[in-house]
Symmetry: C2
Subunit: 191 residues, 2 copies
């Protein structure tokens, strides 16, 4: 490991945001999960939460999502358990979801502890997740197609979270607890 590499790893860890995450509600296409994980890394999200589809895609998708070297993946048995666990820790769960109660994603305050919930490719956010979510967010569209690709929608919203947190100075000093920071530093420095 070169000193430059070590330095880059430390600097990246110093910008990680323990109170920003994504929770996927049966998103199953490997390329979508991979693109979401890559965007999470880019905006400083250390860990994501996933509920796998109940069908034959389960194993395949779980394998792919775990393949990201820089993002930790916590699996939940079902979306209800995942959302409740986050909310019990004081994290707001906001669903990217095209409903009447949805607000423009730029009007949400992303400096709060937040989990962005993304719906599955075909059916979108499940009813139980929709009901439990603290807020619904919408990205305005002007075309004939009714929704964005799921990894595209996640990126547009996470990029907004990135800028809000940057403006609030949240990338300027270490935010990961020491124990988590040291564990990741150790793991990322392994050859």
């Amino acid at each position: 490991m070169t000193p430059e590499r070590y330095d880059r790893i430390r600097k990246t860890l110093e910008m990680r945001q323990p109170d920003l995450t994504v929770i996927t509600d049966e998103v199953y296409k490997p390329h979508n999960l991979a693109a979401i994980a890559r965007t999470c890394d880019a905006v400083g999200i250390p860990k994501i939460h996933c509920v796998w589809p109940r069908d034959r895609y389960r194993l395949k998708t779980a394998a792919t999502a775990g393949s990201s070297d820089w993002i930790e993946v916590q699996t939940h048995a079902d979306i209800e358990t995942g959302i409740r666990e986050l909310q019990d820790k004081g994290v707001k769960v906001v669903a990217a979801h095209l409903t009447d109660r949805a607000i423009d994603y730029r009007d949400y305050d992303f400096t709060q502890p937040t989990a962005l919930l993304m719906g599955t490719e075909k059916e979108g956010v499940s009813d139980v997740a929709s009901d439990m979510a603290d807020e619904h967010l919408i990205i305005p569209m002007r075309g004939m197609v009714q929704s964005f690709n799921v990894s595209v929608a996640a990126a547009i919203i996470l990029n907004e979270a990135h800028y809000q947190r940057q403006a609030a100075g949240m990338y300027d000093a270490q935010r990961l607890p020491d124990e988590w920071f040291d564990r990741l530093l150790f793991e990322w420095c392994q050859p």
Copy 2:
């Protein structure tokens, strides 16, 4: 065709932006091209420009990209021809490209006639495209991975173009020339 559907088609066409487009420099994965076309529809882009890879992916990718019902695709023999044709019409070609001369994409004025150039999945923007581009744009990142997925990067930048044009009132009155508008209206109303 219901009156509601006809109305929706007209309203969408009234927001189409003839002077905003994307040009892909050998992007070849079908799901990426599909996601890019879908985002273009969402921000009101009527037509995109594509240069297909020179290898075995050529036919497969060309087929997929053409499958979007709402976006026209113009193919160019090579990227040089594509860029020159756009620039000759007074369109600025701005490459999403991580170089030293790149500016933050939010500092570019997207109300100008603009073609956003996206590089291929592995190698990125080609040298000739990089040289010919009027501007290089970068999306700041804070992670270990060096780039976003190409359809994600396109969406983040096009979403910014969307808001700039919205603020400038560019979606408030028909901008397509009548001939183009009428042709699309006719085509979209076919069963």
